[in-house]
Symmetry: C2
Subunit: 233 residues, 2 copies
């Protein structure tokens, strides 16, 4: 069974590469004043990148690893709102309000690049290309999250199929194997994200397997026919 693992992304594959090129990249964490990128800081599995409600001070680019975002509902329940893979952006929802809107947690050991908030302020005219790059990057994120709104109308099996298709497309977009990969998140995380019970997610995986659309063994997945997954939606 496949166990290919998502490792680090190359900078040219990163959604923030255009933005990054506008900065001088420094090697220390003392970049807040200068407004420069701090590259590839290590994080450990379980580390909290930012918390919903905290002051927005950095935008993060995932250089390696995988992350999940959470919101806490009024009732106190935590819900998974999204996942971030290598090459993607964390924290963009904080730009407008000045506060992070979601708590982000590392699903595995990884590396993040830090882009200080000071760079996004409108006063500095020389940063116009940066803001333009951000508009495009944010649009990508909006597009990624467009799927989630459609989940509510689909059945369990379809939701899982959509989820796998989405993961595959995003891995592909950033240059990783897209038909054979290891999921970085638990069934519980997937269930939270899709709005299903853990048991239902498990059963849906088995049904897709039985239908010959995927191979699955724990977190290792092979998509036998990705287009069939999409058509299935």
């Amino acid at each position: 069974m496949a166990t290919k693992t998502t490792t680090s992304v190359l900078c040219p594959q990163c959604e923030l590469n255009d933005v990054c090129q506008q900065y001088g990249v420094v090697d220390t964490a003392d970049s807040e004043v200068l407004g420069e990128v701090t590259p590839q800081q290590s994080v450990n599995k379980g580390d909290v990148v930012c918390r919903a409600g905290d002051r927005f001070d950095y935008l993060y680019a995932v250089h390696a690893g995988a992350f999940k975002s959470l919101v806490t509902l009024p009732g106190g329940e935590e819900r998974v709102t999204g996942f971030y893979f290598a090459g993607e952006i964390i924290g963009s929802e904080g730009m407008s309000t000045g506060k992070y809107g979601r708590t982000v947690v590392a699903l595995q050991d990884g590396q993040l690049c830090y882009l200080p908030e000071v760079s996004f302020s409108p006063e500095d005219a020389s940063r116009k290309m940066i803001r333009q790059g951000l508009l495009v990057a944010m649009s990508h994120q909006v597009k990624n999250e467009q799927w989630t709104g459609l989940m509510a109308a689909h059945r369990a099996e379809q939701r899982v199929a959509i989820f796998l298709y989405m993961v595959s497309k995003r891995l592909e977009f950033h240059g990783f194997p897209s038909t054979e990969f290891r999921l970085p998140m638990s069934r519980e995380d997937i269930a939270g994200y899709l709005g299903l019970a853990v048991e239902t997610v498990s059963r849906s995986f088995q049904k897709l397997k039985g239908a010959g659309m995927i191979q699955v063994s724990g977190r290792n997945v092979v998509l036998e026919n990705r287009d069939a997954l999409q058509d299935f939606v």
Copy 2:
């Protein structure tokens, strides 16, 4: 029973007001070259504002009326992805790709302001405040749509409660009565948006009514206790 109707928004209440101020506002539709706002063009119920896949040429601000957005799924089925009320923006998802991502249809007679795409290009340094305003406006939209991703995990009654709360908050944000209003969309549109059957939406309205949380008669709604609706989520 209440029948207060959403009418036109005042410019200061519009999310694009900051952007608008950066333009010269003209009275003719001949603004494409100048990159200026064409204000308050009338649209009729059922009119299509833009179609998914069409070239992105205008951003629209809703001056009056209400609109719904649709996507066509691979299978050909149409799904309602969102609603736009007076003071809100239509088409922002097209900025990154150059194409509209959703088809937008008028739910009632109304008026739109047109902002030509040429104004958003990065070449023109004098437009930097416009782009900054757009970032904030887009963030609002992302926030509005954050609800939808959470729908999947909620029951029918809760989804309807969330929906009513969301409508109420958005009406309030733009200066309209927020506890007593007339819904501009049909039960079918609501059902499509929430991923429920029409019958289930209808039953959910009746249950919320029975619980004393709302009054409802057709499209007219009174929220007896808006905070209770939120807590109910």
